[in-house]
Subunit: 345 residues, 4 copies
């Protein structure tokens, strides 16, 4: 049964496996203080066109988010997130476990705006309330929408005016960059648009690993103490260094993002042709079509997808996700199958 | 400059790289719920001769310790550890960061005994004190000593009599098992000797990953919730599954432990021959020779070792560590070099 | 300027001051293990008609909530509360600071129902989500509404069916009991309606102090450890013991609740007569009238009240609060003043 | 049975009760933002001869310590304390519960010195260790010894040189000030000798309440947020304001300290006359005589004292504690009784 469930079902890009194999018996400094990690940091700085940022490699997204957020907030400070934000839903209260409230904001499309944040600031007026201090967004969001460069500029300007930090969860950043005709976003924009962000590796060709980029000077000192305290320093840190070296050679990272979006196109077109609506406009490698229940059932008999929600009693919204490793034939087969299914619907 | 600094300077056992390569494009269930992780769990259960234990793979030792300990303790409960215990020194307060006191006990040789724990229990008499609840030991210890099976039996019996949980940090468990002429310890003993332990992969042939074994029924339920909350569930969990599959085929795990000890022998003999005393009796792949300062300096000009302490004004104790990947030639070269150095001393 | 801002502006009921004076030079056991605390516990058990409950005196409401909740929840467990719940708004993230998410539920009238909780349970399906475990309500609520005995019965039955604990914040419990023609609630009902609750003293005649009542057997053991850890054991605990002894003699506690409601009646009638709507039906000592902005301004020039919200651009909702200590003359004066104000409106 | 167990067995100084009674029906601002708290703050600033310090009233010592320490430390920072320090022993891991390690230092007499702290700094060399950041002492200490002004000056100078904060737990500060012939310590010295300290009320005439004095500018901002988060803002804060107003009129605070020491003198002399040694030199209202076991038993049959330790198999060390409320007759009676007891010994 072919799976469109997520973009982390397969291993690593072959370049990565080859590189790991090649240096297997070299002796490396431990804890991320090795030459591969250093070289990966430089490659990323080069792509970002900013050599002042600090970069740390951490094994996963939740671990990155909780280590970062617990580092920058004082005990009474809180995070503002969309209700659908990953930290508010799918991290088992990881942020709260470090002592900080996540304040959820209802949205139409999974995206924060200054107008949605302003009332939160008004509400939190004194020491009986937590102090909102960090604005958290994901780009792309958890419902497949994307922030444009302009939207991020507005958000960051708003944050700076209100003494808020701005952090972008880039678990799938490659897709937001690859969808640049929608987002107008390039790597060099990123450090200008926020105080910190992470470049997701797990979902873009790495076995595991995210590159956290600290832009704001205030975050840099002692960060490794917080990493170690949360178990986020890997003994053999160069394993992540090597992976990001490969991902940042010849623009591989963004190319894998493009490839994951390309794999999605035939599915998207097939759904459009069949008049299947999407939950939100979703220009990346995740889409959320809304099927009549019967059709959803038929699909799930032959393919793995992720249940998203029931928008009404008769319909089911499923998530389809492709990746750099998605098989082109499997996509074609699905389209063929799907066209059969709707015939008999 | 050849390094004897630690046992995590090189990559992974070649079997592991090969296996990862072979399944690279397979689609796997995420979050450790895949067939490789399941098969690795079964291989470990088989070796332990206990199919009732729960096994979880976690990316590193600190992350394993903090996830486990925060799961089993209630807020006012504390851990008893030797003063040299890894959680008391080298984890940046990771346990305290989850809210729990680590109560340090002074020892001669890095090893806890019932006689050393008893006064701690006597002291903590009521609700003004934390409640000692978990006894933490490492085997081998952080100073290279080992617990025998009999010592562990005594400790566990003591713990059970006093409603204490007993947990063994097995970052280098392979070495304790390989040193069975000293420890009389075999894999099937382990689940009978404690409430939980972990089988370290990082220092024994894996790129990363530890296998936490939960023996006590009370620990099992909801453990994955705590893992996820601490960022300890890897999206591509099968990457660890595959590694432990390989380590637990044909007894590879213990054999790598043996090999790391064998590599140490020539060094040990050279030091003995030269009359260099050791900090403690240390039958595994870590030794702590005490050199006259001048000699230590000479060594450090040509080899990487880890500074341990200054036992007196004129002497320096260094840690030498070998691993499954330590080069036989490099060991021979060192011995030759060393014999030259002491001639001119 | 007379204040209707809250019900904690004045000192203690005179019986309390007298009792404290009388025993001032007696020697007492410390930490709440004294005869006055014991006798207060018995008086409360008698009124509750339940001698199996455990009772602890804690200096304030936030301290009570955070000590209790951190005691009963495991790390990954969360609280379900209304969005307006005190722990979700006015406790500066105290619950999150102990590591637990507060999941906010939108309501019309500040009251939870099984129908509002059910979707929360459905949403939280596996280890990627926190585990809802405690349902928190206040009676009366933060917007002046009350739960009836029947509503609490339904909630508790629902909670038990779904392995949820049920906890009632009774900061103003006296008012809910005094409004028994609306709530049908009596003291002996309380331990039958929830797993734990607290009887607020601060707002009902005490200088400070709340009586936390633990009904569920599972909560009782080691509770004092958690109290001490949170600084919630007072050295001179009998100071709270004496206060609750007085409050639970001759039904004083409920009588003070009645008196606070009686003081509110003239205000309520005056507003009704003037056609001023209330935010919610509010039968206790807190009401939330919605004034045209100009009128609100006039009121605030002569009286202290608490700003609640702006329901629309032209109106302002203020909180009026009375207490056992509210001066009858002051109420009369307000009514006279108010009638003058609306004449010129 | 008369109790010499502690200095918090009786109520409040009569001036306090009188003052509370007098203002009982006044309306006050809540949460410590009232005129009594303000006036108490000014009285304390006047006595300290420093109007730049911030002063907060908190209900108890543990709550003060945990609120203060969690406010000033970043997650990976730790406290250095003597092993006998109150936060290391008698606060049920309250500091660890806020995430911070307490690093215990062995001492002869319960007192820290630069020479004892230096090795701790040397040991904690990088991000694998917690970062020592706060030095915590009590004056008087938990074993009845005192720091002189000169010793505190040395400690503070050392702390400043090493980027350490210095905090003095003054649960019994009155006694250290009253023992000024030993300590040379006066109130105006205090803000010059540390970054923060608290003036204990509970053990010096108040019903409850400690005055935390923040000297270091860095600690002041947002402190009330942290207080509220830990349940350390009392709704009726003026109850503590009034108490400290009374304690700081006419030097009452130090006079109560003197009185507690005076009450101790007859006991001390009686023990000296009988050749009973003390655990440490203890010039305040706590002494720790070491009795032959039989004598200790006889004493405990007629008087309440606190067991301290068994220095050897045949002896028992008891704590005797007097207070401002200790009855002069009771002291005389004890001396008479004691002299009888030793006759028959």
């Amino acid at each position: 049964m072919y799976s469109f469930q997520n973009d982390y079902s397969e291993g690593a890009h072959p370049n990565i496996l080859r590189a790991l194999d090649m240096i297997n018996y070299h002796q490396n400094n431990s804890y991320g203080l090795d030459t591969h990690s250093d070289s990966a940091r430089e490659l990323i700085q080069e792509v970002l066109e900013d050599y002042s940022v600090d970069i740390h490699f951490i094994a996963g997204g939740t671990l990155t988010n909780l280590t970062f957020i617990s580092h920058i907030l004082r005990p009474y400070e809180a995070v503002v997130s969309t209700e659908t934000g990953h930290i508010n839903t799918h991290e088992t209260g990881a942020i709260e476990a470090t002592g900080h409230k996540v304040y959820p904001v209802l949205t139409e499309d999974g995206k924060l705006t200054p107008d949605l944040i302003r009332p939160v600031l008004d509400l939190h007026e004194n020491e009986h309330w937590v102090e909102p201090r960090l604005v958290y967004v994901s780009n792309p969001t958890e419902v497949g929408t994307v922030y444009t460069k302009e939207e991020l500029e507005n958000l960051y300007a708003f944050c700076k005016r209100h003494q808020l930090y701005f952090y972008i969860d880039g678990a799938r950043l490659a897709a937001a960059l690859a969808a640049s005709e929608h987002t107008h976003l390039t790597f060099p924009d990123m450090p200008k648009l926020c105080d910190a962000f992470y470049i997701g590796g797990t979902k873009v060709g790495a076995m595991f690993g995210e590159a956290l980029v600290l832009v704001n000077e205030d975050f840099k000192e002692h960060f490794r103490f917080n990493m170690k305290q949360h178990g986020a320093i890997l003994a053999k840190g160069w394993i992540m260094g090597v992976q990001f070296e490969e991902l940042f050679k010849d623009n591989l990272y963004v190319r894998l993002g493009q490839q994951s979006i390309e794999r999605m196109q035939p599915l998207k077109e097939a759904f459009e042709k069949a008049g299947i609506p999407l939950l939100c406009e979703a220009p990346t490698n995740q889409i959320f079509p809304i099927f009549p229940d019967g059709l959803a059932e038929k699909i799930n008999k032959k393919y793995l997808t992720t249940f998203q929600c029931k928008p009404d009693k008769a319909h089911t919204c499923l998530r389809f996700c492709t990746s750099w490793a998605t098989n082109e034939e499997a996509v074609k087969d699905f389209v063929k199958d799907f066209e059969e299914m709707i015939k008999t619907e």
